[in-house]
């Protein structure tokens, strides 16, 4: 590469990721069906879609909690697709995850201080004598009082537990954090605190996020770029301004239209409610997977699969009608 790789090379590169699950009668559920993207340093990629679209499976494949059926994953240029469990250990230091259920993600028998110290011990990053100071520093970094170190998960609120999870994730100075619905279970006032905290950590540490959510407004606040998933595929992928203000795929438009807006004069607008529900990934519809629910579907959509292509600079859409 000619240009300065430090700035321009992606921290994570996913190419043609496929994940199929075998189900009964030898049939196959196509949970992820060919997904490619690049995650740049300091960037937040928002992954949005409804339940069953494959967004959590994608997160688990990217962090190698699930084996991909096909495709390649590169983290900082290293191909990690087929690394062994042992070879993955240093990679995991670089790529951490945060989950939706903050309390059950934590070992109920360990207190908050032990929980945050655990990754430091496993990866032997800090001498034993300095672990306590480092944990206290991490507590402050996520807005927790170091006095909370002796608390057990059941003695903390959901928001506090999620801060502990964030402290665990950032303790190893990762380049990537994959957050799977990390703020979805939190109350509005706590959700705002955690979203801001994740933003502050990003500007402080320069790390990248893959932020998975079903909430258009949340993804619109936190992301730089947004990928919209439907039935295992990206149907639209662009900057957040393009996705929110100039959505081109009918499914993205439907998601935006269905998202409630806390403004009664605005919400009384006439909106088109998309019909039906997400089809099964075991027997997806022919042609464009969205055609049975699409208000604009034509004959072509029923037979021919659309491909994800660039229709505006940096704006990818998979739709015959765009």
């Amino acid at each position: 590469m000619m240009s300065t790789p430090k700035i321009s090379s992606p921290v994570l590169e996913a190419k043609d990721i496929v994940k199929h699950f075998k189900v009964k009668d030898g049939r196959v559920a196509r949970a992820i069906d060919g997904v490619s993207f690049e995650l740049m340093p300091g960037e937040t990629l928002g992954l949005i879609g409804e339940s069953g679209c494959g967004k959590s499976t994608l997160a688990r494949v990217l962090s190698r909690l699930e084996e991909p059926t096909g495709g390649t994953i590169h983290i900082k240029g290293q191909d990690i697709t087929h690394l062994s469990h042992r070879q993955m250990i240093p990679v995991r230091q670089n790529c951490q995850m945060i989950f939706q259920d903050a309390v059950s993600s934590l070992n109920p028998r360990a207190n908050a201080g032990e929980l945050v110290a655990e990754p430091l011990r496993i990866h032997r990053l800090v001498p034993k004598s300095e672990i306590k100071d480092r944990v206290a520093e991490l507590f402050k970094g996520v807005g927790l009082n170091p006095d909370m170190m002796t608390r057990y998960p059941h003695e903390m609120s959901g928001g506090q537990c999620q801060r502990v999870n964030i402290a665990r994730a950032i303790s190893l100075n990762p380049d990537i954090i994959i957050a799977d619905e990390a703020v979805s279970a939190l109350d509005v006032s706590i959700q705002a605190q955690v979203i801001n905290l994740l933003g502050d950590i990003q500007s402080r540490m320069g790390l990248s996020y893959i932020f998975i959510t079903h909430d258009m407004a949340v993804v619109g606040v936190i992301s730089h770029r947004i990928a919209v998933m439907y039935l295992g595929k990206f149907v639209e992928y662009s900057t957040k301004a393009e996705i929110i203000r100039n959505p081109l795929h009918p499914y993205t438009q439907a998601l935006l239209d269905a998202s409630p807006i806390p403004n009664p004069s605005r919400s009384k607008r006439q909106r088109q409610i998309v019909r039906g529900e997400l089809p099964s990934p075991i027997s997806p519809p022919s042609g464009c997977h969205f055609h049975p629910r699409c208000p604009k579907a034509t004959e072509l959509c029923k037979t021919e699969k659309p491909v994800l292509r660039e229709v505006l600079p940096g704006h990818m859409v998979s739709c015959h009608l765009v």
């Binding site: 509005v188 006032s189 605190q193 619109g220 606040v221 009664p264």
Partner: protein, 338 residues
């Protein structure tokens, strides 16, 4: 103000449901925890009132106690509830079960766990009809089929013979609504009916509920944490915090002129698509409310929001704020206005 508006003013319409000084508490190891702290409100015919608040604010406890579904003991329930002018808290078990399902029905957040997994949809939909309306099984099945049509479930005959696990989440919630609607109640209590659903399904269910409200004049109490859902559907809103109603107003007034510091904080903290849709730059930070949502404990003497409030004064800690009517129907409990 026109004559028509005066005629429709709240004072002249008799509410279908009146709650007066409802107080629910639980005796625990650390003393008495107050879940609902002396609240009063009315629901008028055909309106949708939203009870909005964060987890632990007591909104679901209100719903359960209205339906007399809260086991007492351990719950200590005080106050009175009037359905069309008739007090129901003093009714016997037999009498209350005639009100429940017939006058007042409820739908819950988890349609899977609220439906009986080992009974067919038909059995679950016909039970109430046979009990309350004395229909035969055949008549009840016919009505159940009509009710499934009403809530937009295609091929109703087939669905009647199926079990809950054979339906999707959205379909199950439609069945719950069909069940609640089967005896045409005057009051529907919906506790987070769309929280477990995807946004496109949520939009379908909310449209269905609004349609039923218009068609049958049902009064609905919508319990939710989602201010967007409130703005989309409710006529009036009561904001709850730590067991109390801190602000009541019409939807339009509440969102255009939020007056309680907590309401203002909530509206500032919620990520807003409308803010992202227009303007020169897109916000990437949210306004925070500092501190945590309080957990249930003994009732505080002053304002429960005082520890998180940016306008807190001395007396907020010691004296309970008295409700003030800022505009007709817009009531706020905050010392800033008293």
């Amino acid at each position: 103000m026109s004559d028509a508006m005066v005629q429709n003013s709240p004072e002249t319409v008799q509410p279908v449901l009146s709650v007066r000084n409802l107080k629910v508490s639980f005796e625990g190891p650390k003393g008495r925890a107050v879940a609902v702290d002396n609240i009063s409100f009315d629901v008028r015919p055909g309106e949708m009132l939203a009870l909005v608040g964060e987890s632990g604010c007591g909104k679901s406890t209100v719903a359960l106690s209205l339906m007399k579904l809260l086991a007492s003991p351990p719950a200590i329930i005080e106050g009175s509830v009037y359905v069309k002018g008739r007090e129901i808290f003093n009714l016997s078990k037999e009498e209350i079960s005639k009100v429940r399902g017939k006058e007042m029905a409820m739908i819950f957040q988890q349609p899977m766990t609220s439906l009986n997994p080992v009974l067919t949809i038909e059995r679950q939909l016909t039970e109430g009809l046979m009990l309350h309306e004395g229909l035969t099984r055949k008549q009840a099945r016919e009505r159940a089929r009509e009710n499934l049509d009403l809530v937009g479930i295609p091929s109703a005959n087939e669905r009647l013979n199926q079990y809950p696990h054979q339906l999707s989440g959205g379909m199950r919630q439609r069945v719950m609504i069909a069940m609640a609607m089967s005896c045409k109640p005057s009051i529907l209590i919906a506790d987070e009916p769309t929280t477990a659903l995807d946004v496109t399904t949520q939009a379908q269910i909310l449209a269905l509920m609004s349609g039923l409200q218009d068609e049958f004049g049902i009064s609905t109490i919508l319990i939710t944490h989602d201010l967007g859902v409130v703005a989309e559907t409710a006529n009036r809103v009561a904001v709850m915090y730590a067991g109390r109603i801190v602000e009541t107003a019409t939807s339009n007034d509440l969102f255009s002129n939020p007056s309680h510091p907590y309401t203002r904080g909530l509206l500032g903290a919620v990520p807003r698509l409308d803010a992202l849709l227009s303007g020169d730059d897109m916000p990437s930070r949210l306004r925070e409310i500092p501190g945590n949502v309080p957990s249930a404990g003994p009732a505080v003497p002053g304002c429960p929001f005082a520890p998180r409030c940016d306008r807190v004064k001395d007396r907020c800690h010691t004296q309970r704020p008295t409700p003030v009517e800022l505009a007709p129907g817009h009531i706020v409990s905050c010392w800033e206005y008293a």
